[in-house]
Symmetry: none
Protein backbone atom coordinates (compact mmCIF):
# COMPACT_ATOMS: atom_id res chain seq x y z
CA UNK A 1 0.00 0.00 0.00
CA UNK A 2 0.93 3.65 -0.09
CA UNK A 3 2.05 3.70 3.53
CA UNK A 4 4.67 1.11 2.80
CA UNK A 5 5.77 3.06 -0.26
CA UNK A 6 6.40 6.19 1.74
CA UNK A 7 8.25 4.32 4.43
CA UNK A 8 10.34 2.59 1.77
CA UNK A 9 11.21 5.78 -0.09
CA UNK A 10 12.44 7.39 3.09
CA UNK A 11 15.08 4.75 3.63
CA UNK A 12 18.47 5.72 2.31
CA UNK A 13 19.06 2.50 0.38
CA UNK A 14 16.96 -0.66 0.62
CA UNK A 15 19.52 -2.57 -1.37
CA UNK A 16 22.58 -1.81 0.73
CA UNK A 17 22.12 -5.11 2.57
CA UNK A 18 21.46 -7.14 -0.58
CA UNK A 19 23.64 -10.24 -0.83
CA UNK A 20 24.13 -11.73 -4.27
CA UNK A 21 23.62 -15.48 -4.53
CA UNK A 22 24.03 -15.74 -8.30
CA UNK A 23 23.80 -13.80 -11.51
CA UNK A 24 20.86 -15.42 -13.27
CA UNK A 25 21.47 -13.78 -16.63
CA UNK A 26 22.71 -10.61 -18.18
CA UNK A 27 22.90 -8.90 -21.53
CA UNK A 28 25.95 -6.91 -22.48
CA UNK A 29 24.08 -5.58 -25.45
CA UNK A 30 21.01 -4.40 -23.57
CA UNK A 31 22.91 -3.48 -20.42
CA UNK A 32 20.73 -5.54 -18.11
CA UNK A 33 21.53 -7.97 -15.33
CA UNK A 34 19.25 -10.33 -13.37
CA UNK A 35 20.50 -11.19 -9.90
CA UNK A 36 19.29 -13.71 -7.33
CA UNK A 37 20.09 -12.93 -3.72
CA UNK A 38 18.91 -12.22 -0.20
CA UNK A 39 17.34 -9.05 1.10
CA UNK A 40 16.90 -9.02 4.88
CA UNK A 41 16.73 -12.84 4.97
CA UNK A 42 14.18 -13.04 2.18
CA UNK A 43 14.78 -14.49 -1.27
CA UNK A 44 14.87 -11.71 -3.85
CA UNK A 45 15.48 -11.12 -7.53
CA UNK A 46 16.96 -7.77 -8.51
CA UNK A 47 16.94 -6.57 -12.10
CA UNK A 48 19.20 -3.71 -13.10
CA UNK A 49 18.92 -1.97 -16.45
CA UNK A 50 20.86 1.07 -17.59
CA UNK A 51 18.59 3.79 -18.89
CA UNK A 52 18.47 5.05 -22.51
CA UNK A 53 20.07 8.40 -23.34
CA UNK A 54 17.85 11.47 -23.41
CA UNK A 55 18.66 14.22 -25.86
CA UNK A 56 17.78 16.99 -23.42
CA UNK A 57 20.47 15.92 -20.94
CA UNK A 58 23.33 15.62 -23.43
CA UNK A 59 24.75 19.13 -22.93
CA UNK A 60 24.86 18.63 -19.18
CA UNK A 61 26.51 15.22 -19.61
CA UNK A 62 29.20 16.67 -21.91
CA UNK A 63 29.93 19.55 -19.58
CA UNK A 64 29.61 17.88 -16.21
CA UNK A 65 31.51 14.61 -16.72
CA UNK A 66 35.00 13.31 -16.23
CA UNK A 67 36.65 11.79 -19.29
CA UNK A 68 39.41 9.15 -19.30
CA UNK A 69 41.20 8.41 -22.57
CA UNK A 70 41.37 4.75 -23.58
CA UNK A 71 42.72 4.77 -27.11
CA UNK A 72 43.63 7.13 -29.92
CA UNK A 73 44.24 6.14 -33.57
CA UNK A 74 44.09 8.71 -36.37
CA UNK A 75 40.72 10.48 -36.21
CA UNK A 76 39.26 7.92 -33.78
CA UNK A 77 39.52 8.04 -30.01
CA UNK A 78 37.68 6.27 -27.22
CA UNK A 79 37.11 7.34 -23.64
CA UNK A 80 35.39 6.26 -20.46
CA UNK A 81 33.03 8.99 -19.39
CA UNK A 82 31.96 9.37 -15.78
CA UNK A 83 28.67 11.23 -15.72
CA UNK A 84 26.86 12.88 -12.80
CA UNK A 85 24.80 10.07 -11.16
CA UNK A 86 21.44 11.81 -11.57
CA UNK A 87 21.98 11.93 -15.35
CA UNK A 88 22.93 8.29 -15.57
CA UNK A 89 20.41 6.36 -13.49
CA UNK A 90 19.92 2.62 -13.38
CA UNK A 91 16.39 1.25 -13.53
CA UNK A 92 16.10 -1.19 -10.67
CA UNK A 93 13.35 -3.74 -10.20
CA UNK A 94 13.09 -5.75 -7.00
CA UNK A 95 10.99 -8.91 -6.62
CA UNK A 96 10.85 -9.77 -2.91
CA UNK A 97 10.03 -12.25 -1.57
CA UNK A 98 10.82 -14.18 -4.76
CA UNK A 99 9.82 -17.79 -5.38
CA UNK A 100 11.78 -20.48 -7.20
CA UNK A 101 9.63 -19.78 -10.26
CA UNK A 102 10.85 -16.20 -10.39
CA UNK A 103 14.42 -17.38 -10.06
CA UNK A 104 14.09 -19.92 -12.88
CA UNK A 105 12.27 -17.48 -15.12
CA UNK A 106 15.25 -15.16 -15.15
CA UNK A 107 17.93 -17.83 -15.31
CA UNK A 108 19.97 -17.71 -18.49
CA UNK A 109 20.87 -20.87 -20.27
CA UNK A 110 24.26 -20.71 -21.88
CA UNK A 111 24.51 -22.05 -25.38
CA UNK A 112 27.24 -23.91 -27.18
CA UNK A 113 28.06 -24.10 -30.86
CA UNK A 114 27.86 -27.67 -32.10
CA UNK A 115 29.71 -28.92 -35.17
CA UNK A 116 27.58 -31.55 -36.86
CA UNK A 117 29.15 -33.54 -39.69
CA UNK A 118 26.71 -35.64 -41.76
CA UNK A 119 27.83 -38.70 -39.77
CA UNK A 120 27.00 -36.87 -36.53
CA UNK A 121 23.55 -36.13 -37.88
CA UNK A 122 23.00 -39.80 -38.63
CA UNK A 123 24.45 -41.21 -35.43
CA UNK A 124 23.50 -38.51 -32.89
CA UNK A 125 20.92 -35.98 -34.07
CA UNK A 126 18.54 -38.12 -36.12
CA UNK A 127 18.20 -40.90 -33.50
CA UNK A 128 17.59 -38.23 -30.84
CA UNK A 129 14.86 -36.55 -32.90
CA UNK A 130 13.21 -39.92 -33.57
CA UNK A 131 13.31 -41.03 -29.91
CA UNK A 132 11.79 -37.77 -28.74
CA UNK A 133 8.97 -38.06 -31.29
CA UNK A 134 8.18 -34.39 -30.84
CA UNK A 135 4.52 -33.81 -31.54
CA UNK A 136 3.69 -31.58 -34.48
CA UNK A 137 -0.06 -32.09 -34.05
CA UNK A 138 -0.49 -28.32 -33.72
CA UNK A 139 1.11 -27.94 -37.17
CA UNK A 140 -1.31 -30.49 -38.65
CA UNK A 141 -4.18 -28.62 -36.99
CA UNK A 142 -3.15 -25.52 -38.91
CA UNK A 143 -2.73 -27.36 -42.21
CA UNK A 144 -6.14 -29.02 -41.76
CA UNK A 145 -7.84 -25.76 -40.67
CA UNK A 146 -8.67 -27.24 -37.28
CA UNK A 147 -6.93 -24.30 -35.63
CA UNK A 148 -5.85 -20.76 -36.48
CA UNK A 149 -7.74 -20.92 -39.80
CA UNK A 150 -8.72 -17.25 -39.47
CA UNK A 151 -5.06 -16.23 -39.13
CA UNK A 152 -4.00 -17.63 -42.50
CA UNK A 153 -2.61 -14.92 -44.78
CA UNK A 154 -2.14 -17.11 -47.86
CA UNK A 155 -2.45 -20.73 -48.88
CA UNK A 156 -1.31 -22.79 -51.82
CA UNK A 157 -3.15 -26.13 -51.33
CA UNK A 158 -0.91 -28.24 -53.61
CA UNK A 159 0.10 -31.35 -51.60
CA UNK A 160 3.63 -31.41 -53.09
CA UNK A 161 4.60 -27.73 -53.41
CA UNK A 162 1.88 -26.00 -51.39
CA UNK A 163 2.05 -24.25 -48.02
CA UNK A 164 0.19 -22.14 -45.51
CA UNK A 165 1.49 -18.66 -44.62
CA UNK A 166 0.52 -17.15 -41.28
CA UNK A 167 1.80 -14.68 -38.68
CA UNK A 168 4.19 -16.03 -36.10
CA UNK A 169 2.97 -15.92 -32.49
CA UNK A 170 5.76 -13.51 -31.63
CA UNK A 171 4.32 -10.87 -33.96
CA UNK A 172 1.43 -8.81 -32.64
CA UNK A 173 0.62 -7.58 -36.20
CA UNK A 174 0.30 -4.01 -34.88
CA UNK A 175 3.09 -2.68 -37.15
CA UNK A 176 5.16 -4.07 -40.01
CA UNK A 177 8.45 -2.99 -38.36
CA UNK A 178 8.67 -6.38 -36.69
CA UNK A 179 6.80 -8.39 -39.31
CA UNK A 180 7.22 -12.14 -38.74
CA UNK A 181 5.39 -14.79 -40.74
CA UNK A 182 5.85 -18.52 -41.10
CA UNK A 183 5.27 -20.61 -44.21
CA UNK A 184 4.43 -24.22 -43.32
CA UNK A 185 4.74 -26.82 -46.08
CA UNK A 186 1.78 -29.12 -46.70
CA UNK A 187 4.23 -31.96 -47.38
CA UNK A 188 4.71 -33.90 -44.15
CA UNK A 189 7.91 -35.88 -44.68
CA UNK A 190 10.51 -33.11 -44.50
CA UNK A 191 11.78 -32.67 -40.97
CA UNK A 192 14.61 -30.23 -41.43
CA UNK A 193 17.39 -28.86 -43.65
CA UNK A 194 19.15 -32.25 -43.60
CA UNK A 195 16.21 -33.85 -45.43
CA UNK A 196 16.32 -31.44 -48.35
CA UNK A 197 17.62 -32.52 -51.77
CA UNK A 198 17.23 -31.03 -55.24
CA UNK A 199 13.89 -32.93 -55.42
CA UNK A 200 12.51 -30.25 -53.13
CA UNK A 201 13.54 -27.30 -55.30
CA UNK A 202 10.03 -26.81 -56.76
CA UNK A 203 8.60 -26.69 -53.22
CA UNK A 204 11.27 -24.29 -51.93
CA UNK A 205 11.03 -22.01 -54.96
CA UNK A 206 7.25 -21.97 -54.68
CA UNK A 207 7.36 -20.97 -51.01
CA UNK A 208 9.97 -18.30 -51.76
CA UNK A 209 8.10 -16.82 -54.71
CA UNK A 210 4.49 -16.99 -53.53
CA UNK A 211 5.40 -16.11 -49.95
CA UNK A 212 7.06 -12.88 -51.12
CA UNK A 213 4.10 -12.09 -53.39
CA UNK A 214 1.57 -12.64 -50.61
CA UNK A 215 3.52 -10.37 -48.24
CA UNK A 216 3.77 -7.63 -50.88
CA UNK A 217 0.03 -7.91 -51.50
CA UNK A 218 -1.05 -7.97 -47.86
CA UNK A 219 1.55 -5.80 -46.11
CA UNK A 220 2.95 -3.78 -49.01
CA UNK A 221 6.49 -4.93 -48.23
CA UNK A 222 8.67 -5.78 -51.25
CA UNK A 223 11.13 -8.68 -51.30
CA UNK A 224 14.01 -6.24 -50.72
CA UNK A 225 12.66 -5.62 -47.21
CA UNK A 226 12.47 -9.31 -46.28
CA UNK A 227 14.81 -11.81 -44.66
CA UNK A 228 13.63 -15.29 -45.67
CA UNK A 229 15.27 -18.24 -43.94
CA UNK A 230 15.14 -21.67 -42.33
CA UNK A 231 16.42 -22.57 -38.89
CA UNK A 232 18.81 -25.38 -38.20
CA UNK A 233 18.10 -26.85 -35.70
CA UNK A 234 14.45 -25.90 -36.14
CA UNK A 235 12.19 -25.73 -33.09
CA UNK A 236 9.86 -28.33 -34.66
CA UNK A 237 10.63 -30.94 -37.28
CA UNK A 238 8.17 -30.11 -40.03
CA UNK A 239 9.44 -27.96 -42.89
CA UNK A 240 8.73 -24.28 -42.33
CA UNK A 241 10.26 -21.03 -43.54
CA UNK A 242 10.61 -17.75 -41.62
CA UNK A 243 9.78 -14.42 -43.27
CA UNK A 244 10.91 -11.45 -41.16
CA UNK A 245 11.39 -7.79 -41.91
CA UNK A 246 14.93 -6.79 -42.78
CA UNK A 247 16.18 -4.43 -40.09
CA UNK A 248 14.13 -6.16 -37.38
CA UNK A 249 16.53 -8.26 -35.38
CA UNK A 250 14.21 -11.18 -34.91
CA UNK A 251 15.31 -13.81 -32.38
CA UNK A 252 17.06 -16.62 -34.26
CA UNK A 253 18.09 -14.58 -37.30
CA UNK A 254 21.79 -14.85 -36.45
CA UNK A 255 24.21 -16.52 -38.83
CA UNK A 256 24.72 -19.39 -36.36
CA UNK A 257 21.13 -20.63 -36.74
CA UNK A 258 19.55 -19.09 -39.84
CA UNK A 259 20.01 -20.23 -43.43
CA UNK A 260 18.79 -17.90 -46.17
CA UNK A 261 16.26 -19.70 -48.35
CA UNK A 262 17.96 -18.16 -51.41
CA UNK A 263 21.23 -19.81 -50.35
CA UNK A 264 19.55 -23.14 -49.63
CA UNK A 265 18.09 -23.10 -53.14
CA UNK A 266 21.45 -22.22 -54.74
CA UNK A 267 23.24 -24.88 -52.70
CA UNK A 268 20.81 -27.59 -53.81
CA UNK A 269 21.02 -26.41 -57.42
CA UNK A 270 24.79 -26.77 -57.44
CA UNK A 271 24.85 -29.97 -55.36
CA UNK A 272 21.67 -32.05 -54.96
CA UNK A 273 23.19 -33.73 -51.87
CA UNK A 274 24.56 -30.52 -50.31
CA UNK A 275 22.84 -30.94 -46.95
CA UNK A 276 23.78 -34.62 -46.79
CA UNK A 277 27.48 -33.97 -47.08
CA UNK A 278 28.12 -30.69 -45.27
CA UNK A 279 29.17 -30.00 -41.72
CA UNK A 280 26.54 -27.72 -40.21
CA UNK A 281 26.98 -25.52 -37.14
CA UNK A 282 24.26 -24.56 -34.67
CA UNK A 283 23.87 -23.44 -31.07
CA UNK A 284 22.32 -25.65 -28.39
CA UNK A 285 21.31 -24.58 -24.89
CA UNK A 286 23.14 -26.06 -21.92
CA UNK A 287 19.98 -27.89 -20.79
CA UNK A 288 19.27 -29.38 -24.22
CA UNK A 289 19.05 -33.16 -24.44
CA UNK A 290 20.71 -33.10 -27.84
CA UNK A 291 23.70 -31.23 -26.42
CA UNK A 292 24.03 -34.04 -23.87
CA UNK A 293 24.21 -36.56 -26.73
CA UNK A 294 26.93 -34.59 -28.50
CA UNK A 295 28.89 -34.48 -25.24
CA UNK A 296 28.48 -38.23 -24.65
CA UNK A 297 29.74 -38.81 -28.17
CA UNK A 298 32.81 -36.72 -27.42
CA UNK A 299 31.81 -34.18 -30.06
CA UNK A 300 32.01 -31.15 -27.76
CA UNK B 1 50.90 8.20 -31.84
CA UNK B 2 51.32 7.54 -28.12
CA UNK B 3 52.67 11.04 -27.47
CA UNK B 4 49.35 12.50 -28.50
CA UNK B 5 47.56 9.97 -26.37
CA UNK B 6 49.37 11.06 -23.25
CA UNK B 7 48.72 14.73 -23.94
CA UNK B 8 45.07 14.02 -24.55
CA UNK B 9 44.60 11.94 -21.43
CA UNK B 10 45.87 14.78 -19.30
CA UNK B 11 43.11 17.13 -20.37
CA UNK B 12 40.22 17.31 -17.95
CA UNK B 13 37.40 16.94 -20.48
CA UNK B 14 37.83 17.19 -24.25
CA UNK B 15 34.08 17.09 -24.70
CA UNK B 16 33.10 19.97 -22.45
CA UNK B 17 32.97 22.27 -25.47
CA UNK B 18 31.06 19.85 -27.69
CA UNK B 19 28.03 21.39 -29.35
CA UNK B 20 25.33 19.05 -30.58
CA UNK B 21 24.10 19.62 -34.13
CA UNK B 22 21.81 16.61 -34.36
CA UNK B 23 21.12 13.19 -32.91
CA UNK B 24 21.90 10.86 -35.81
CA UNK B 25 20.34 7.78 -34.25
CA UNK B 26 19.81 6.10 -30.91
CA UNK B 27 18.71 2.82 -29.45
CA UNK B 28 16.67 2.60 -26.29
CA UNK B 29 17.25 -1.14 -26.28
CA UNK B 30 21.02 -0.93 -26.51
CA UNK B 31 21.44 2.35 -24.63
CA UNK B 32 23.43 4.00 -27.39
CA UNK B 33 23.25 7.41 -29.01
CA UNK B 34 25.09 8.77 -32.06
CA UNK B 35 25.53 12.53 -32.08
CA UNK B 36 26.78 14.91 -34.74
CA UNK B 37 28.27 18.17 -33.53
CA UNK B 38 31.23 20.50 -33.33
CA UNK B 39 34.35 20.13 -31.25
CA UNK B 40 36.56 23.21 -31.25
CA UNK B 41 35.24 24.25 -34.70
CA UNK B 42 35.76 20.81 -36.20
CA UNK B 43 33.00 18.49 -37.32
CA UNK B 44 32.75 15.53 -34.96
CA UNK B 45 30.67 12.47 -34.32
CA UNK B 46 30.35 11.32 -30.72
CA UNK B 47 29.01 7.90 -29.83
CA UNK B 48 27.88 7.22 -26.29
CA UNK B 49 27.11 3.73 -25.05
CA UNK B 50 26.29 2.73 -21.51
CA UNK B 51 28.52 -0.09 -20.31
CA UNK B 52 27.36 -3.60 -19.40
CA UNK B 53 27.12 -4.61 -15.73
CA UNK B 54 30.07 -6.40 -14.16
CA UNK B 55 29.43 -8.96 -11.48
CA UNK B 56 32.48 -7.95 -9.44
CA UNK B 57 31.18 -4.42 -8.94
CA UNK B 58 27.64 -5.34 -7.88
CA UNK B 59 28.27 -5.30 -4.13
CA UNK B 60 29.81 -1.85 -4.37
CA UNK B 61 26.93 -0.63 -6.51
CA UNK B 62 24.36 -1.94 -4.01
CA UNK B 63 26.16 -0.40 -1.07
CA UNK B 64 27.36 2.84 -2.57
CA UNK B 65 24.30 4.07 -4.48
CA UNK B 66 21.33 6.29 -3.84
CA UNK B 67 17.95 4.68 -4.43
CA UNK B 68 14.73 6.53 -5.36
CA UNK B 69 11.48 4.59 -5.18
CA UNK B 70 9.29 4.77 -8.28
CA UNK B 71 6.58 2.18 -7.71
CA UNK B 72 5.59 -0.53 -5.31
CA UNK B 73 2.93 -3.20 -5.98
CA UNK B 74 2.76 -6.42 -3.95
CA UNK B 75 6.14 -8.17 -4.19
CA UNK B 76 7.31 -5.92 -7.05
CA UNK B 77 8.98 -2.54 -6.68
CA UNK B 78 10.96 -0.33 -9.00
CA UNK B 79 13.58 2.30 -8.24
CA UNK B 80 15.96 4.68 -9.93
CA UNK B 81 19.44 3.92 -8.71
CA UNK B 82 22.20 6.53 -8.77
CA UNK B 83 25.52 4.72 -8.77
CA UNK B 84 29.01 6.08 -8.12
CA UNK B 85 30.23 7.42 -11.51
CA UNK B 86 33.32 5.20 -11.68
CA UNK B 87 31.07 2.11 -11.45
CA UNK B 88 28.73 3.32 -14.16
CA UNK B 89 30.89 4.60 -16.96
CA UNK B 90 29.77 5.53 -20.44
CA UNK B 91 31.86 4.30 -23.33
CA UNK B 92 32.55 7.30 -25.53
CA UNK B 93 33.88 7.23 -29.05
CA UNK B 94 34.91 10.42 -30.80
CA UNK B 95 35.48 10.73 -34.53
CA UNK B 96 37.11 14.11 -35.16
CA UNK B 97 37.45 15.62 -37.64
CA UNK B 98 34.49 13.74 -39.09
CA UNK B 99 33.57 13.81 -42.76
CA UNK B 100 30.10 13.76 -44.26
CA UNK B 101 30.61 10.04 -44.80
CA UNK B 102 30.99 9.46 -41.07
CA UNK B 103 27.92 11.51 -40.35
CA UNK B 104 25.87 9.58 -42.89
CA UNK B 105 27.23 6.26 -41.68
CA UNK B 106 25.72 6.80 -38.25
CA UNK B 107 22.46 8.28 -39.43
CA UNK B 108 19.59 5.89 -39.04
CA UNK B 109 18.67 4.58 -42.45
CA UNK B 110 16.32 1.99 -43.74
CA UNK B 111 18.04 -0.88 -45.49
CA UNK B 112 17.27 -2.96 -48.55
CA UNK B 113 18.34 -6.46 -49.43
CA UNK B 114 20.38 -6.53 -52.63
CA UNK B 115 20.78 -9.59 -54.83
CA UNK B 116 24.25 -9.55 -56.32
CA UNK B 117 25.05 -12.08 -59.04
CA UNK B 118 28.73 -12.44 -59.95
CA UNK B 119 28.07 -10.26 -63.01
CA UNK B 120 26.56 -7.59 -60.76
CA UNK B 121 29.68 -7.68 -58.63
CA UNK B 122 31.86 -7.12 -61.69
CA UNK B 123 29.74 -4.46 -63.35
CA UNK B 124 28.32 -2.61 -60.32
CA UNK B 125 30.00 -3.36 -56.99
CA UNK B 126 33.68 -3.68 -57.95
CA UNK B 127 33.79 -0.46 -60.04
CA UNK B 128 32.04 1.37 -57.19
CA UNK B 129 34.55 0.13 -54.60
CA UNK B 130 37.45 1.09 -56.86
CA UNK B 131 36.11 4.59 -57.57
CA UNK B 132 35.57 5.31 -53.89
CA UNK B 133 39.10 4.23 -53.01
CA UNK B 134 38.16 3.96 -49.33
CA UNK B 135 41.19 4.58 -47.15
CA UNK B 136 42.41 1.67 -45.04
CA UNK B 137 45.36 3.63 -43.68
CA UNK B 138 44.17 2.94 -40.14
CA UNK B 139 44.37 -0.80 -40.90
CA UNK B 140 47.95 -0.44 -42.15
CA UNK B 141 48.76 1.56 -38.99
CA UNK B 142 47.71 -1.45 -36.96
CA UNK B 143 49.58 -3.97 -39.12
CA UNK B 144 52.72 -1.81 -38.95
CA UNK B 145 52.39 -1.17 -35.19
CA UNK B 146 52.05 2.56 -35.77
CA UNK B 147 48.81 2.51 -33.77
CA UNK B 148 47.04 0.30 -31.25
CA UNK B 149 50.15 -1.88 -30.88
CA UNK B 150 49.47 -2.34 -27.17
CA UNK B 151 45.97 -3.63 -27.93
CA UNK B 152 47.17 -6.59 -30.00
CA UNK B 153 46.08 -9.88 -28.46
CA UNK B 154 47.89 -12.15 -30.89
CA UNK B 155 49.96 -11.90 -34.03
CA UNK B 156 51.16 -14.32 -36.64
CA UNK B 157 53.64 -12.25 -38.70
CA UNK B 158 53.68 -14.50 -41.78
CA UNK B 159 53.07 -12.23 -44.81
CA UNK B 160 50.94 -14.85 -46.60
CA UNK B 161 48.97 -16.54 -43.83
CA UNK B 162 49.59 -14.21 -40.89
CA UNK B 163 47.24 -11.81 -39.13
CA UNK B 164 46.83 -9.49 -36.19
CA UNK B 165 44.09 -10.20 -33.64
CA UNK B 166 42.81 -7.31 -31.55
CA UNK B 167 39.67 -6.18 -29.76
CA UNK B 168 37.07 -4.43 -31.86
CA UNK B 169 36.38 -0.79 -30.97
CA UNK B 170 32.87 -1.76 -29.92
CA UNK B 171 34.16 -3.98 -27.12
CA UNK B 172 35.28 -2.35 -23.87
CA UNK B 173 37.06 -5.58 -22.77
CA UNK B 174 35.58 -5.38 -19.27
CA UNK B 175 33.71 -8.68 -19.60
CA UNK B 176 33.76 -11.59 -22.04
CA UNK B 177 29.95 -11.61 -22.42
CA UNK B 178 30.21 -9.27 -25.37
CA UNK B 179 33.65 -10.36 -26.54
CA UNK B 180 34.39 -8.96 -29.98
CA UNK B 181 37.75 -9.31 -31.67
CA UNK B 182 38.89 -8.74 -35.21
CA UNK B 183 41.56 -10.69 -37.07
CA UNK B 184 43.15 -8.54 -39.76
CA UNK B 185 45.14 -10.36 -42.45
CA UNK B 186 48.67 -9.15 -43.17
CA UNK B 187 48.06 -9.85 -46.85
CA UNK B 188 46.89 -6.64 -48.49
CA UNK B 189 45.31 -7.75 -51.76
CA UNK B 190 42.11 -9.36 -50.48
CA UNK B 191 39.29 -6.85 -50.36
CA UNK B 192 36.31 -9.02 -49.57
CA UNK B 193 34.57 -12.40 -49.83
CA UNK B 194 34.40 -12.10 -53.62
CA UNK B 195 38.21 -12.14 -53.84
CA UNK B 196 38.56 -15.44 -52.01
CA UNK B 197 39.49 -18.64 -53.84
CA UNK B 198 40.84 -21.98 -52.66
CA UNK B 199 44.31 -20.35 -52.82
CA UNK B 200 43.38 -18.55 -49.63
CA UNK B 201 42.45 -21.67 -47.67
CA UNK B 202 45.78 -21.77 -45.78
CA UNK B 203 45.24 -18.15 -44.69
CA UNK B 204 41.61 -18.69 -43.69
CA UNK B 205 42.36 -21.92 -41.83
CA UNK B 206 45.27 -20.27 -40.05
CA UNK B 207 43.11 -17.35 -38.89
CA UNK B 208 40.37 -19.74 -37.79
CA UNK B 209 42.70 -22.07 -35.89
CA UNK B 210 45.12 -19.62 -34.30
CA UNK B 211 42.42 -17.05 -33.63
CA UNK B 212 40.43 -19.62 -31.63
CA UNK B 213 43.57 -20.76 -29.78
CA UNK B 214 44.54 -17.20 -28.88
CA UNK B 215 41.05 -16.48 -27.54
CA UNK B 216 41.05 -19.68 -25.49
CA UNK B 217 44.45 -18.75 -24.08
CA UNK B 218 43.69 -15.12 -23.32
CA UNK B 219 39.97 -15.16 -22.44
CA UNK B 220 39.43 -18.80 -21.54
CA UNK B 221 36.63 -19.11 -24.10
CA UNK B 222 36.55 -22.35 -26.11
CA UNK B 223 35.62 -22.50 -29.79
CA UNK B 224 32.13 -23.73 -28.87
CA UNK B 225 31.41 -20.28 -27.41
CA UNK B 226 32.50 -18.37 -30.50
CA UNK B 227 30.80 -17.11 -33.65
CA UNK B 228 33.49 -16.59 -36.28
CA UNK B 229 32.47 -14.86 -39.49
CA UNK B 230 33.10 -12.43 -42.32
CA UNK B 231 30.84 -9.62 -43.41
CA UNK B 232 29.64 -9.12 -46.95
CA UNK B 233 29.63 -6.24 -47.72
CA UNK B 234 32.41 -5.52 -45.22
CA UNK B 235 32.75 -2.01 -43.80
CA UNK B 236 36.32 -1.79 -45.15
CA UNK B 237 37.89 -3.64 -48.03
CA UNK B 238 40.83 -5.38 -46.38
CA UNK B 239 40.32 -9.00 -45.32
CA UNK B 240 39.25 -9.26 -41.69
CA UNK B 241 37.37 -11.84 -39.64
CA UNK B 242 34.99 -11.19 -36.74
CA UNK B 243 35.20 -13.28 -33.55
CA UNK B 244 32.23 -12.66 -31.25
CA UNK B 245 30.84 -14.52 -28.28
CA UNK B 246 28.00 -16.89 -29.06
CA UNK B 247 24.90 -15.60 -27.32
CA UNK B 248 25.95 -11.98 -27.70
CA UNK B 249 23.86 -10.51 -30.48
CA UNK B 250 26.63 -8.46 -31.99
CA UNK B 251 25.57 -5.90 -34.58
CA UNK B 252 26.01 -7.42 -38.04
CA UNK B 253 25.80 -11.06 -36.97
CA UNK B 254 22.52 -11.59 -38.81
CA UNK B 255 22.26 -14.16 -41.60
CA UNK B 256 21.80 -11.37 -44.17
CA UNK B 257 25.32 -10.02 -43.67
CA UNK B 258 27.45 -12.60 -41.84
CA UNK B 259 29.16 -15.62 -43.38
CA UNK B 260 30.52 -18.24 -40.97
CA UNK B 261 34.22 -18.70 -41.60
CA UNK B 262 33.69 -22.47 -41.27
CA UNK B 263 31.17 -22.31 -44.13
CA UNK B 264 33.43 -20.12 -46.24
CA UNK B 265 36.20 -22.69 -45.83
CA UNK B 266 33.90 -25.59 -46.72
CA UNK B 267 32.53 -23.71 -49.73
CA UNK B 268 36.01 -23.02 -51.11
CA UNK B 269 37.05 -26.62 -50.45
CA UNK B 270 34.17 -27.97 -52.50
CA UNK B 271 34.36 -25.27 -55.18
CA UNK B 272 37.51 -23.13 -55.54
CA UNK B 273 35.50 -20.50 -57.45
CA UNK B 274 32.48 -20.55 -55.12
CA UNK B 275 32.47 -16.80 -54.43
CA UNK B 276 33.04 -16.00 -58.08
CA UNK B 277 29.94 -17.83 -59.24
CA UNK B 278 27.36 -17.39 -56.50
CA UNK B 279 24.63 -14.85 -56.07
CA UNK B 280 25.20 -13.16 -52.72
CA UNK B 281 22.62 -11.25 -50.72
CA UNK B 282 23.32 -8.33 -48.44
CA UNK B 283 21.57 -5.30 -46.96
CA UNK B 284 22.43 -1.78 -48.07
CA UNK B 285 21.28 1.39 -46.40
CA UNK B 286 18.98 3.78 -48.22
CA UNK B 287 21.70 6.42 -48.47
CA UNK B 288 24.38 4.06 -49.73
CA UNK B 289 26.03 5.03 -53.00
CA UNK B 290 26.22 1.37 -53.91
CA UNK B 291 22.47 1.00 -53.50
CA UNK B 292 22.07 3.90 -55.93
CA UNK B 293 24.17 2.00 -58.47
CA UNK B 294 22.04 -1.13 -58.10
CA UNK B 295 18.93 0.99 -58.62
CA UNK B 296 20.39 2.68 -61.73
CA UNK B 297 21.20 -0.76 -63.11
CA UNK B 298 17.59 -1.83 -62.56
CA UNK B 299 18.69 -4.46 -60.05
CA UNK B 300 16.34 -3.30 -57.26
Amino acid sequence: GRGEAVKESERENTLSGFLTTAVLSDSAREKTIFIHGKLADQEAVVILEKTPFREETLAEIFNGSKLKLDMKNDIYSTYRLQAPPHLNEIKTTVVCPATEKHVNKYKHQESFLVEEAWEDYQSITLPYIQEQSFSVQWVYNILEKKAEAERIVFEDPDPETGFVLLPDFKWDQKQVDDLYLIAIAHKKDIGCLRDLTSDHLPLLQNIFQKGKEAILQRYNLPASKLRVYLHYQPSYYHLHVHFTKLGYEAPGCGVERAHLLADVIQNLQSDPQYYKTRTLYFPLRADSGLLGRFKEAGRL
